[in-house]
């Protein structure tokens, strides 16, 4: 039933958002798979019952936004237990979280906050990822963040940090291509070097989304708002990622100014067109 493991033809899916649920329940459009934010379904209410109905027809990916894998104080074990219970109930094909933090001193800040890429951070995140994987009893995919700042003391390139994290914990990578473009513009990350640094067989999912361009005191800052179509630069980098990683399940994310479902389907179809030629291809390093 689940076609999302490596070696299985990968498809494009969409992030499931509440305003689209009724239409999907009625029309059952031909989408490769659906991804949901885990925290929205942790109440046991009607939304969870709806999701259980949808998962009969669509492979499901569970995307956590609140585990705070980068918290120096460790994971919130109650929250980890809730994620575990939800994953047990929904049996998703993929479970993913973020290389970021949002919890400190008992305060949850509702943002994927930046980390300094240091040896200390690597130890903290590795411990947290191991603990999460042990509890969940499965491999976690960890997503690269979009950044609006970098720390002065941050000696490890982010791509190498992520690669080392996969080696230490056995976790996989959710490669958010839009985040790479955003971070490249905002903090000088080098996207192709990043893609080359990642172990190709660890990449289990790709995210695509739109971003906004804002002016901050005369400086252009890209904002990862998931509020528009995928930009050309992101499509270009996506093609490079597919050339590097081969065929990988790909998600269209859209969170603000949500358009009709048909627009997300068009974006998913555009990803499918690019996925098709890469099926069966091997892994290659990229020039650049």
């Amino acid at each position: 039933m689940c076609g999302l493991s490596r070696g299985t033809p990968a498809r494009a899916g969409i992030g499931l958002r509440a305003p689209h649920v009724d239409e999907i329940l009625v029309t059952r459009p031909g989408l490769g798979w659906l991804e949901v934010h885990a925290e929205n379904y942790m109440d046991g209410g009607p939304a969870l019952a709806m999701l259980e109905a949808l998962r009969q027809d669509y492979p499901l990916s569970l995307h956590g936004v609140g585990l705070s894998l980068g918290s120096a104080e460790g994971l919130n074990l109650e929250h980890l237990a809730r994620l575990h219970a939800l994953a047990d109930r929904l049996a998703p094909c993929l479970v993913s979280e973020h290389l970021a933090w949002s919890l400190s001193g008992g305060v949850y800040l509702n943002h994927l906050l930046p980390l300094p890429w240091t040896d200390e951070t690597l130890v903290v995140v590795s411990d947290n990822v191991r603990r999460a994987q042990d509890r969940l009893g499965r491999r976690l995919l960890v997503e690269n963040p979009s950044s609006y700042l970098r720390f002065l003391v941050s000696p490890i390139p982010e791509g190498e940090f992520m690669a080392e994290l996969t080696r230490r914990t056995g976790c996989g990578v959710l490669c958010d291509v839009n985040n790479l473009v955003v971070s490249a513009a905002n903090v000088g990350l080098e996207p192709l070097a990043y893609l080359n640094a990642l172990p190709a067989d660890a990449v289990g999912e790709i995210h695509l989304a739109g971003h906004a361009e804002n002016d901050a005191d005369g400086v252009t800052v890209l904002i990862d708002d998931h509020g528009s179509r995928v930009r050309p630069a992101v499509w270009d980098l996506y093609e490079a990622a597919l050339a590097r990683f081969g065929s990988v399940p790909t998600l269209i994310e859209w969170d603000t100014d949500l358009p009709p479902l048909a627009v997300l389907q068009e974006e998913a179809a555009a990803a499918e067109r690019r996925l098709e030629p890469s099926r069966g291809a091997g892994h290659h390093a990229l020039a650049g």
């Binding site: 919130n76 929250h79 305060v107 906050l113 300094p116 700042l149 005191d217």
Partner: protein, 270 residues
């Protein structure tokens, strides 16, 4: 160099509005003042949490307008930031906050409107339960012996909440729905309201109840024994038809299960 824990503590303070120089010093400018870079994160934290509150409290927002709501939300977020990632659970203290927020003192009904909205919000997120089997429950109750019947504690539908207010919050709420008549006004007549909030067919709603019925239901939902709840309901309304009120609880599927309170020590047989 800051430890990761210190950096995160400092950044948490900065994102909630404190001036955290130690964090600014740790951020690379890259052509933009670190204050502005931290401001991007701070803006997102503030706007996303304000949106969460606005989603739970649309009538409060309409009553005070968007701008004032943002101002109050900002202060609330600083005072009581979320403590965990389930955002549907964030904002339960907003009514009490508004009650103590001096700029809101001219609107004495506002905290109770917020309490009604929170009850509706949490009712819509309450765990789903299978519809109770009324006849089976009634049959199980009939098998109890007389002494046991006084010790019944019911489990009620988890989406049910009971509120009382000295203000007509039900009418205020209805007059501030998107489809309400914009010319309609609500008379603040000082009559108290007793409300039952419940989710039905995936939609949370509420209704007003007479004092006796409300007392019976509210006490049962609060975990009081049937005997205690009935006594209180009769004391609140001597005219209450207790048998009819109890029958309605079964007919409406409000009662989902029951347990017996332990026998009190002094009444236990030797």
């Amino acid at each position: 160099m800051l430890s990761l824990a210190d950096l995160q503590r400092g950044m948490t303070a900065a994102l909630l509005g404190a001036d955290a120089e130690v964090v600014r010093m740790a951020v690379a400018p890259d052509g933009l003042d670190p204050r502005a870079r931290l401001g991007i994160y701070r803006h997102h934290v503030r706007t996303s949490l304000t949106a969460v509150l606005k989603d739970a409290y649309p009538v409060v927002c309409r009553l005070v307008d968007d701008r004032f709501f943002g101002y109050a939300a900002d202060a609330y977020i600083r005072d009581e930031p979320p403590t965990e990632p389930r955002l549907f659970a964030y904002g339960g203290g907003f009514a009490d906050f508004l009650a103590g927020f001096p700029p809101c003192h001219g609107l004495p009904y506002l905290p109770d409107v917020a309490r009604l909205e929170w009850a509706l919000h949490t009712a819509s997120h309450a765990p789903a339960v299978r519809a109770p089997d009324g006849p089976a429950l009634a049959g199980a109750l009939e098998t109890l012996i007389r002494d046991e019947r006084t010790r019944i504690v019911f489990a009620v539908d988890p989406s049910v909440r009971y509120l009382v207010s000295p203000h007509p919050v039900d009418r205020i709420w209805r007059a501030n729905q998107p489809d309400a008549d914009p010319e309609a006004s609500v008379v603040l007549d000082g009559e108290s309201v007793h409300l039952e909030v419940r989710r039905a067919r995936d939609q949370a709603g509420f209704r007003s109840l007479p004092l006796g019925e409300w007392t019976l239901r509210a006490r049962l939902a609060g975990g009081r024994s049937l005997e205690d709840a009935a006594a209180e309901a009769l004391s609140a309304d001597g005219e209450l038809n207790l048998a009819g009120a109890l029958g309605a609880l079964f007919n409406e599927g409000l009662l989902v299960d029951f347990t017996l309170t332990p026998i009190r020590e002094e009444t236990r047989p030797c």
